[in-house]
Symmetry: C2
Subunit: 307 residues, 2 copies
Amino acid sequence: MRHGFDEIIAKMKGCGMKKVAVAAAQDSAVLEAVKEAKARGIAEAVLVGDEAKIREIAASIDMDLAGYRIIDEPDMIQAALKAVKLAHDGEVDMYMKGLVDTKNFLKSVLDKEAGLRTGAPLSHVAVFDLPQFDRLLFLTDVAFIPYPTLEDKVNIIRNTVPVCRACGIECPKAAVLAAVEVVNPKMPATVEAAELTKMCEEGELAGCVVDGPLSLDLAVDPEAVKHKGASDRKIQGDADMLVFPDIHAGNLVYKCIVHTVPEMKNGCILTGTKVPVILTSRSDSFETKVNSIALAAVVAEEMKKNG
Amino acid sequence: MRHGFDEIIAKMKGCGMKKVAVAAAQDSAVLEAVKEAKARGIAEAVLVGDEAKIREIAASIDMDLAGYRIIDEPDMIQAALKAVKLAHDGEVDMYMKGLVDTKNFLKSVLDKEAGLRTGAPLSHVAVFDLPQFDRLLFLTDVAFIPYPTLEDKVNIIRNTVPVCRACGIECPKAAVLAAVEVVNPKMPATVEAAELTKMCEEGELAGCVVDGPLSLDLAVDPEAVKHKGASDRKIQGDADMLVFPDIHAGNLVYKCIVHTVPEMKNGCILTGTKVPVILTSRSDSFETKVNSIALAAVVAEEMKKNG
C-alpha cells in the first residue's frame, strides 16, 4: 500500500480525534489549520490565548467556536506555559505553536516543570509526500540542530524511527547523506556516516537499517544504484529516512523540494518530546500546517498504543 | 525573453560550430552526446583515444565518423594530455572527459605545460532549466571544492559570472545560501555570506549583485520575500546564481533537483580554465551531456568575443 498524507489522514479517521493545545492561538493561519483538522476528523483543539482576539479572528474566517475549549490568557508566554502544561499533564495529545515567537515557544517545550522533556534531545523531522515516490520521505534534521555531532545524529535517528513507524514503515531505511558515497577522512560527515552504519550493525541503533555515507542518488534512485554498481549497499535507492550532515544541507534540500517540486505535500513535527510538537512557520502553506497536525496525530496515536 | 537550454542551443546555431577535444573518446555515452551535439549544430569533435575502439563503438551507435578528426592514442593518460594540448594551443574551443578516470582527466587539465590553468582556481557550475522558473539557475560549487574558504567563494563567484553572462544574464544576482537569512556568529557560512555581500558593495566582486546569507526561499521565491517582509534585501526571490556553503549542501541540492523535479534540464561545466571543460559523470543522462556541451559552447563563444 502506498503511504502518503491521504493515507495518514484516512488512518486517523479510524482511531478517533486527537486533541491539540495551541499556544497563543490568536493567529488566523493557525486557526484556519485547526478548523480544517477538525473538519477532516483529525484533531480538536484547546485554544489558549487572548480569547477576545481568538473570537474576532474566528468570526472573520467563519470558524464556529462551539465545542472548542478556550482558555483566556492574553500574555503569550503565560499562554504557552498553560498550553504546554495540558500536554504535560496528558489532557491533550499534541502541542502546537500559535502567535508566540519560536524562542518562547521552545522555552515552554523545554520548561522543567510544565514542559515536554523526556531526556532525549529534541530534533525536527520534515515528512514529504512526492508524486514520483511510492513512499513518504523523512528528512532530518533540517531546522533544529545546526551542526549535529555523532551523538546528536544517533539521537536524531532514534527520534525519527517511531515517526516512520507511526506512518506505517515497520523498519525504516535511514540513509546518512553526504556529497559522496565513500568514506573520505577529509570529509567528517562521511566518517560519521560510516560510524552510524557500524553502530546499527552492532545493535546500538535498533528498529532501522542505517547505511552511509550515501549520495542522494544512491539513497533514492534504484537506477543510479544499478548504474554505479552499488548492489552491495544496504540501501538500494529505497531510503525512507534522509539524515543530513548539517542544517545548511538539510534546510537547503528541504526548501528546494518545497519550492521546485510541483504537487509536493509536506508536514513537520518536533520529536524527542513527551508528545509530538507542531512548530510550523509563517511561510508554511495552509496544507502543510494541516498535514503537520495529521502527522503529529498519527505519532500521538502510536505513542498511546505503545504506552 | 526566457533563457533556457533551448535558447542556448538556438543561440549557438547563429555563431557557427565550436570544436571540442575528447580525452579517451572510446566511451559510447560520450560518443552519443558528441554525435548529437554535431547534429544540433552545437559542436564538432576531435576524438583522441583508441581509434579501433572508437570506430567499433561508432558503428554500434550508427555514428558516421566521416568529417571527424581522430587522433589514435590507446593510452588513456596520453590521450588526455594530447587532447588537452589541442585546447591549450587554441586548436579547439572546449575540452571534454571521455573514458579516462576523473583523477587523470583533472591532472591533464592542471598540467603545467599542456593544461588549461589561468591562475584562477577551478570551480564547477551546474546550470538548471526548471519548468517553473523563467530563467536559468546557476548552482556552485556542487561537485569540485569540498569546503570552500571565503577566498574560494570569491573565486567561485568570479568564475561563474562569465558563465551567467554567456547565457544572456548581464548582471547576475548571486545568493549566498545558508539555512537562515541572518548572520549568526555560530554559523560560519552566514558570516562569510555577509562578508561576500560587503565585498561586492565595495567593488571587489564586479559584474554581479551579491546578497547573503539567504535562505533558499528568499533566493528563489518572491512570495516568500513578501511573506517574510524581506523587501530590503538586494535579492527578491530572483537569484540567478546559488552559492552553497559547502559541497554536501550543494551536491545534495543538485541531486535533489535531478531526482525529484519532473522535466528538469541541466548541464555542467568546470570553469576558471583557459577554455570550458566538460566533465560529465556516468550517471548523467544523455540530454545532460548534450546540454553540458552546449553550455561549454556558449561560454567558449563569449570568451572568444571578449578576447
